[in-house]
Symmetry: D2
Subunit: 147 residues, 4 copies
Amino acid sequence: MSRFEWPVRVYIEDTDAGGIVYYVNYLKYMERARTEFFRKFDSGGNYIADDKSMFVVHSLNSQYLKPAKLDDTLIATVKVIKYGKANISMEQNIYRQRDVDEQSTGSEIEAVGELLCRGEVKIACVDRRMIKPRRMPLELLAGLKDL
Amino acid sequence: MSRFEWPVRVYIEDTDAGGIVYYVNYLKYMERARTEFFRKFDSGGNYIADDKSMFVVHSLNSQYLKPAKLDDTLIATVKVIKYGKANISMEQNIYRQRDVDEQSTGSEIEAVGELLCRGEVKIACVDRRMIKPRRMPLELLAGLKDL
Amino acid sequence: MSRFEWPVRVYIEDTDAGGIVYYVNYLKYMERARTEFFRKFDSGGNYIADDKSMFVVHSLNSQYLKPAKLDDTLIATVKVIKYGKANISMEQNIYRQRDVDEQSTGSEIEAVGELLCRGEVKIACVDRRMIKPRRMPLELLAGLKDL
Amino acid sequence: MSRFEWPVRVYIEDTDAGGIVYYVNYLKYMERARTEFFRKFDSGGNYIADDKSMFVVHSLNSQYLKPAKLDDTLIATVKVIKYGKANISMEQNIYRQRDVDEQSTGSEIEAVGELLCRGEVKIACVDRRMIKPRRMPLELLAGLKDL
């Protein structure tokens, strides 16, 4: 199963007084990548949230290995690990993009850059009003099967 | 017309890589103060947003005089300048709270502390679905008259 | 070992278009509680970050059980599970505070309210410039021993 | 003097319980556009913030005309109005990008889309440690002259 990659630039809004990216913001980057990943299956709507249903985060775990800094270009990835009718588990990592003039060494990870943050996120589709589990849109389920 | 004051602590989430409070966060502090100011008139609901109507910011202007830093205790103020049936204009400032052991000199501003950010915010009551102007709740209007 | 509790009010800044608290913001609430927990051991400084060292998040995992909503009063908790010379592991949960007029039933959890989010966070003390592991301040270490 | 334009996608992190973009986030979008505008003059560094100096917001005023919603593609603009040795005043607007299949009518504004937020921002270059005014980097000043 292939991996989806989404580039993210670090702006001053993302940093904290430690001079590095505020750690909760990596989770925002991961969600941007999920949103763009879902957009691929989408025929005009938005699978993250529509009038009837939306995805909420069920659980997550993450390890912070190295800090990102102002102005870095990062890559947020999405790889579906497992899914059911109402939930999807994804591996989501954040890499610092290697400079274009750095020599590539060919391994998959190094092709993207230095691993900064490793994450695993399980999201659940819920009814928008009741916030109760609900089957995800069929087109999305079909899209996941085709991966 | 008296002025409402609301204390705010600066946490790491509020700062940026400049080592100071990220400037847009002062606007969040101002909104917290508005929310708490409104709560005073409230008999169990929330005037900032309920099922039918909500307040949105119509316009604002602000001047940043001195930076706040991690761990500072700030005071966000609310003073109603003008209001109509569907909008309210407020002066909203941010002060750094003086240390309890600093000698007070008696003027109004110094009683609060050092002025960091001066703001003027006009908010408008809108219909929640249409995002069109709508008269604010009568209890709130009555509360403003009584100020 | 006793548990530290810190109250948090939900403002409009904390919510998202789902009408609930944006899930990454629970992590901000947990950090506010950690900061206040540390302040107890502190003789005038700030253990979260000073000129030489700061704590960064090493890893976290969290489960989202029920959503918090605008205007809720939450309780963020801190309970130290384990610590070394340069890191601390804590259980950190978020509860919705029970209304004062709800009848208390006596169990520990119900005394606080409904559990919304369960978290476990490991933080590491690092050198501020090098972002390399560094022993935490001795007063803090002593404070943890006394818990 | 020409206008710089920078595209911004609205993600769930940007919205609030009103179902629209949280108004302070427009200011983040404006800053992203300023950062990218500055990058054009830049020979490898970052004019927004380097080791010695950084830009801080001196003052701003903004009017919110129409709300942006989840998934909108916005355009944040930068147009320098005036500058001195240590400060720059810019007009910064936010537009909702017109759909590619909407018919263009040719006027400048309509070529971008619907105006949602109008802003004017004055930024000042300061010494990073002292947070005191400081002349901006000469290359940037030269770049502004060439506009």
